[in-house]
């Protein structure tokens, strides 16, 4: 059964009709990757699911309609969000960034510090002075702090060093054991490692949906759908 159902999602940003009737389903459990070339509307799709941009269409979570809910209510229904470019609060410390994300009486600090021990030692440091990789850890940690049924994660490995990419991929795998993950990711090795399903966007529409292995194991289709050259994609372990 689909946990998230997106039907005929349309988003206009200024003059641009970015999403033109996007429809797809995210099954419960595991990782579904939202793929596509730059500028096809992947980030806008996640922002639309979060209610961060004006949208038309229907979005349901476990049958509950989210379409008219404000962003904070969508989150309270159990949707965690890791935005593109981290969006940590630069003037706040790491501890304050995490404290702000607490939604109930039992935040999962043990899990967060197990995945990212560095955040414990840097608790008093202002987030704006962290490296890009450390900021990404804060962004992911904020989403993992609460029990969520779904995590929307937008390009978590963007601009990170290879070692950090591996660390973030491991965190995504762990996150997928606890929640359903909808992942926007350009690094196909990471997608091959963590995702079971893929949805491909092009021109503001869904052009492919199916198993990750089937798509990534077919170089011709990868080239045709994503414009990526090269052989079969290997998982990044």
């Amino acid at each position: 059964m689909a946990l998230i159902e997106v039907r005929d999602l349309n988003v206009h940003l200024g003059e641009s009709h970015v999403l033109q009737g996007v429809s797809f389903e995210v099954p419960e459990g595991g990782v579904t990757a939202l793929l596509g070339r730059n500028g096809v509307g992947k980030t806008t799709t996640l922002r639309a699911l979060m209610g961060l941009v004006p949208r038309r269409g229907t979005v349901t979570l476990a049958g509950a309609d989210l379409t008219r809910e404000p962003t904070h209510m969508i989150v309270r229904r159990g949707v965690g969000y890791v935005p593109e470019d981290r969006d940590v609060f630069a003037g706040l410390t790491v501890d304050e960034n995490l404290r702000l994300a607490e939604r109930n009486g039992s935040p999962r600090y043990e899990l967060v510090y197990e995945l990212f021990p560095e955040l414990k030692t840097r608790g008093g440091q202002r987030a704006g002075t962290l490296s890009g990789g450390q900021q990404q850890m804060v962004g992911i940690a904020r989403a993992l702090l609460n029990e969520n049924s779904v995590l929307l994660v937008d390009e978590p490995t963007k601009g990170l060093a290879p070692l950090l990419v591996t660390e973030v991929a491991a965190a995504l795998e762990r996150a997928a054991e606890l929640s359903t993950v909808l992942l926007v990711e350009q690094n196909l090795a990471v997608v091959a490692r963590v995702a079971q399903q893929v949805v491909v966007l092009d021109g503001g529409r869904v052009v492919h949906a199916g198993g990750a292995k089937e798509l990534l194991g077919d170089p011709e289709r990868v080239r045709a759908l994503l414009g990526v050259h090269g052989g079969q994609v290997r998982s990044d372990r």
């Binding site: 962003t71 904070h72 989150v75 609060f89 706040l92 304050e96 702000l100 904020r142 609460n146």
Partner: protein, 293 residues
């Protein structure tokens, strides 16, 4: 030397009032992106409610001032919260309309005050000990200057502690940086909007009370005249920064006093505008841009 000390303490007293008005303006713009032109009206209403309540309670001037001030602060807070809930919230992210509404509200509240209490200045209940002077290094300084400075320092410390140690303070500091991301963490940031408006209205009303003590009277144009300098303070200090606002308020108050005395009477305002131009050229974001602390 005594003149310099008198000018300095008087400038700090003036800066204290600028800070009280500007701190609310700064947080409101920093968090919500609302340029609140009605903020001066909160000051005027707070001052008039203080004066009116003072004339209707018994006791000496001290009691009248204290009771009146409590009523003024309460009305300032409630008025500001109502303005946010009724007029600003429906216009969320419609900045032009917000400016028009706040300008209209400032005009309407000013006209209402004039209609009820007239155009003439009203004498403020000021205890004798506040009118007396204290001599410091030969300078005879009116005691009310110390009250203004002390109250502003207390408000600065309280606001800083509120922003640093409370959950709502954390939400406001984060919201000043990135409001959308705060909502994406499941936080209803609109409650913080109302709270910030109420806090700003209270601080503005407090400035109204202190301006009544400083000038010895209250008049309908008081809020507007002080609001202009408060806006300058906010721009120099950096929108959203309480620390930057405090520093800028002190600088503006002192420069006004020094320029008026050492250069020529009336040059103080020009000196402040020149300072504003210099800061905008050198640091367009102000002294401490876009971080609530």
């Amino acid at each position: 030397m005594s003149t310099f000390i008198l000018l300095t303490v008087t400038g700090l007293g003036l800066g204290a009032m600028y800070f009280l008005i500007a701190s609310g303006l700064s947080l409101i713009y920093g968090l919500m992106g609302v340029l609140n032109f009605a903020h001066g009206a909160f000051l005027t209403v707070g001052a008039y409610v203080t004066w009116w309540t003072g004339t209707h309670v018994g006791g000496g001037p001290g009691i009248k001032l204290l009771v009146g001030a409590l009523a003024g602060l309460a009305v300032g807070a409630i008025l500001a919260a109502l303005v946010e809930l009724v007029l600003i919230r429906p216009l969320y992210q419609r900045h032009i309309e917000q400016v028009l509404v706040t300008v209209g509200l400032a005009l309407a509240l000013g006209a209402l005050v004039e209609a009820i209490w007239g155009f003439d200045a009203r004498p403020f209940p000021v205890p004798a000990w506040l009118v007396d002077t204290t001599t410091i290094f030969g300078a005879r300084i009116p005691n009310d200057r110390f009250l203004e400075i002390g109250v502003a320092l207390a408000v600065l410390l309280a606001l800083t502690a509120f922003l640093r140690y409370t959950r709502y303070g954390l939400i406001i500091r984060a919201g000043v940086e990135n409001r959308a991301m705060v909502t994406a963490l499941g936080i209803d940031v609109r409650k913080a909007f109302t709270l910030v408006f109420a806090l700003g209205g209270t601080a503005a009303a407090l400035a109204g009370v202190l301006s009544g003590v400083y000038f010895g009277a209250v008049d309908p144009g008081r809020g507007t005249s002080l609001l202009i300098f408060a806006f300058i303070v906010v721009v120099i200090g950096g929108f959203g920064s309480i620390g930057g606002t405090a520093i800028a308020a002190v600088i503006v108050g002192l420069i006004q006093q020094y320029a008026n005395y050492y250069a020529s009477s009336g040059l103080g305002d020009l000196a402040v505008v020149l300072l504003l131009a210099l800061v905008l050229l050198a640091r367009p974001g102000g002294l401490a841009p876009k971080v609530a602390h």
